[in-house]
Amino acid sequence: MIRELYQKTVRETSINITNCAIDSVRKKSIMKSGCRVYDNGFIGVAGTFGEPTEKTWAEAEERLKDQIPYPFEPEKNRKRVRDLRQLNISDEEFIKEMEDLLKTLNSEYPDFIFSHKINICESEISLKNDAGLDYVNYDKTIEYVLLVKHRDSINIIDSGLIRQGRTLQKKEFIEDARMFLDAFRNEVSLPQQGKIPVIVEPGMLLSKINESLNGEQIGFGTSLFCNKINTKVFNSDLHIIQDRTEEKYHTPFFDTEGVTQKDDVYYLVRNGVIEKAYTDKMNAKRFSMPLTGSASGDYDEVPSLSSADLSIVPGKKTLKELINGGPAILVIMASGGDYTSSGDFASPVQMAYLTDGEKIIGKLPEFNISGNLYEIFGDDFIGMSCDRAFMGEKALVVKMNVNY
């Protein structure tokens, strides 16, 4: 019998902002422990808050009687520690810095109301077993999520100012805020209706690809990509990876089964060709697919396959070069959109700016975007920028249908 311990610890200091001022401070330190035991091809799991006790291990052993199949060897004799923490600031200093940030925003932009959260979050995720596996991933980030409302507006929220990073980035956040809030005051129209370049948060458009690259769904014959493995269906410049690199915040370099990949990446789509589905151990074996290390699950669950951390590999062009002189739409808020089962996407865009890739030109009225999966990532895929022009993020640019 092998014993394995999966632990997640989150320490957080969270500042809540209401009506332009800090109204509360929340502190949290929560450790969650999942005890796993492997025996005769079965797995037993039990969880607890804090450090596990012998009672927790006994509960995990007790669950072996359920005979949940796990006919795989746990990972053995591997050790790695990845420590991504850089931020070193006391709670008192953090509160003082954020009071100062709000003072700047309030004095320069008295016509706006700022609210919501600024958090410092530190995570420690480990997977260790008595067969020599010893993995630990540390990360610590600051996350600015300020909701913005103009004092004359009748919307609940007009816009958002968002940035996440491993350093304080207060100066960069304020610079971004100035750029966006100045542009907010300049109302402009859509440059045209029809297909135009749109800069959009990748996760929203990748959701269908994430769902359809699931190895279990492909194996069982219920994915849009069932008959498209090793087929070129997207733009030649599109490469999609499972991403466990430092680019992803609070994502450990190992999956919940302890599987890792070279350089913490795994190519699923290369040059527009769907090369692989993502898998956990169970589905890799069941469908004779490569093991990609994509198991997930809560701390006290049997590892399983749900979705993967996907990224689009950036190209060599900056955002300005991708847009190539023409105007583009930078989507700030697009809530509620979705794909149909056949891959048609549509969403209202509640907040967007017009940009040339370098400067924010003005605020656009509310409109709708739509497109088909194979077009968005096919002929309409413009690229993923190599620079971080806005909000500290690389930018996905695609052409989409835009109309009021």
Partner: protein
């Protein structure tokens, strides 16, 4: 016995949660677990700022309180603070599920119940993947405050939920059926409900065609009506967005006409189900609140903080998703009241429209959105072919005036595998529902 820090307001919410999860995935046991968790959220207020601490170390609660209090500035006048004065003092124990607590049912009985639903799914070879869950949750909350509140109450649910993915041709389709109840013995012998949903999904999967985008009159089923009420107006009734905002106070004056004259929206924590909140997470007693009556804005939802800021009464809507978070203004059970027509009467008058039967998700700001799971054209007053729709949208304040028909029976729902998200707190259990309603001018894509 907690020693509350001097010259500060303090309250403590201790949550004890018992949960069972059994998952049979593709007809093979995947998860089978019982989880018992206990944690607390401490709140301290000094008249200027709130300080929150979340802990699982209940045995050292006093130490946690004392440490948190060091961040606050003692205020001898704290009990004269308007927020502190506004807090209700309630002392009550309301353990309505103690005798029928789901933790008293053996996990093997729960597993047997789940297994009784497996054969139904096996009847459909078109189902390529399936997940059949048994889920339950019993929560006991104990809220004590330095002002004298001491309430203890419980809530519970149990459910069988079936998720499946079927495929005919090139296009996969996700379907689901939830059987959500308060008591374990209510979950048995409902296989026919699952079978009927599977049949409908299979028909939809094989026959649905892309919708022609446009503006349509839509008939919403009760579950869609519920999500519409929640997303379109429920979130707008959460008063935290109005604090310190003179424009919004003017825009949302009580007495303003906001919808058609037949529209009534109710918000209450008193109905057993996912939105059952007999006391909110500040210890305020739950009540029935009309937020729209006859098309007129009659109320909004409050925490103590927002009630003071807007000089209104408490409503019992301060809720947190778990002990790890502070309470904020949230919905409980939100529904539209019934009218006097039948479903068929609502549809009969429509030459070309759309019937939205089921949803994947919704969202609501100035524009509300609903992503349908199953929808059908209405042609010449009858339900016709199934159509695939990405999303339906509309401007909230315009759409509420466009509702002109309500069927005569309200149905209430809960999502066992989801809930309401607001900022960082997701998923919060809420109830929602209403009758069938007819709405004009919906943008369909």
């Amino acid at each position: 016995m907690i020693q509350f820090p001097k010259d500060l307001y303090t309250d403590v919410r201790i949550e004890t949660v018992y949960k069972t999860t059994i998952l049979v995935e593709n007809f093979q046991l995947k998860q089978k677990k019982i989880k018992e968790e206990k944690g607390a959220l401490i709140r301290i207020y000094d008249g200027t700022r709130w300080f929150y601490g979340a802990t699982t170390d209940i045995s050292n609660l006093q130490k946690e309180i004392d440490n948190l209090a060091k961040m606050a500035k003692p205020n001898p006048s704290i009990y004269d603070d308007p927020i502190v004065k506004k807090f209700e003092i309630n002392r009550e124990t309301l353990l309505r599920y103690q005798d029928s607590n789901v933790s008293k049912v053996s996990i093997e009985d729960k597993h047997d119940l789940l297994n009784s639903y497996v054969p139904v799914v096996k009847e459909f070879p078109q189902v390529k993947m399936s997940q059949i869950y048994y889920l339950d949750k019993y929560t006991e909350k104990h809220i004590i405050s330095s002002k004298g509140t001491d309430v203890k109450f419980d809530a519970q649910y149990c459910c069988v939920t079936v998720r499946y993915r079927m495929q005919e041709g090139d296009v996969p389709h996700n379907g689901s059926k939830d059987i959500y109840k308060m008591y374990f013995n209510e979950l048995a012998n409902r296989q026919d409900e699952v079978r009927e949903e599977l049949k409908k999904d299979l028909e939809y999967c094989t026959q649905a065609v892309p919708v022609k985008p446009g503006v349509y009159t839509c008939v919403l089923s009760p579950v869609v009506t519920g999500v519409f009420a929640h997303e379109s107006f429920g979130h707008k009734s959460e008063s935290d967005f109005m604090v310190g905002d003179e424009t919004m106070k003017r825009e949302w004056t009580i007495g303003k006409v906001v919808g058609s004259t037949s529209l009534n929206i109710i918000e209450t924590g008193l109905i057993p189900g996912a939105g059952y909140v007999p006391f909110d997470d500040e210890g305020t007693r739950g009540r029935k609140n009309y937020i729209i009556k006859n098309g007129v804005l009659t109320g909004r939802l409050h925490s103590c903080n927002t009630a003071v800021a807007l000089d209104e009464e408490l409503t019992g809507n301060a809720r947190a998703v778990s002990f790890e978070y502070e309470p904020i203004v949230r919905m409980t059970t939100t529904y539209i009241e019934a009218g006097n027509q039948t479903k068929d009467e609502l549809i009969k008058s429509i030459d070309e429209g759309i019937y939205i039967e089921d949803i994947k998700h919704g969202s609501g700001m100035t524009t509300f959105t609903i992503a349908p799971r199953k929808a059908y054209m209405i042609r010449n007053g009858r339900i016709a072919e199934p159509v695939r729709i990405s999303v339906i949208t509309g401007n909230v304040m315009k759409t509420l005036h466009e509702i002109d028909g309500f069927s005569n029976e309200v149905e209430l729902f809960s999502f066992p595998l989801g809930g309401c998200g607001k900022m960082e707190q997701f998923p919060l259990s809420v109830g929602f529902g209403g009758p069938y309603i007819r709405v004009h001018g919906i943008n369909v894509q």
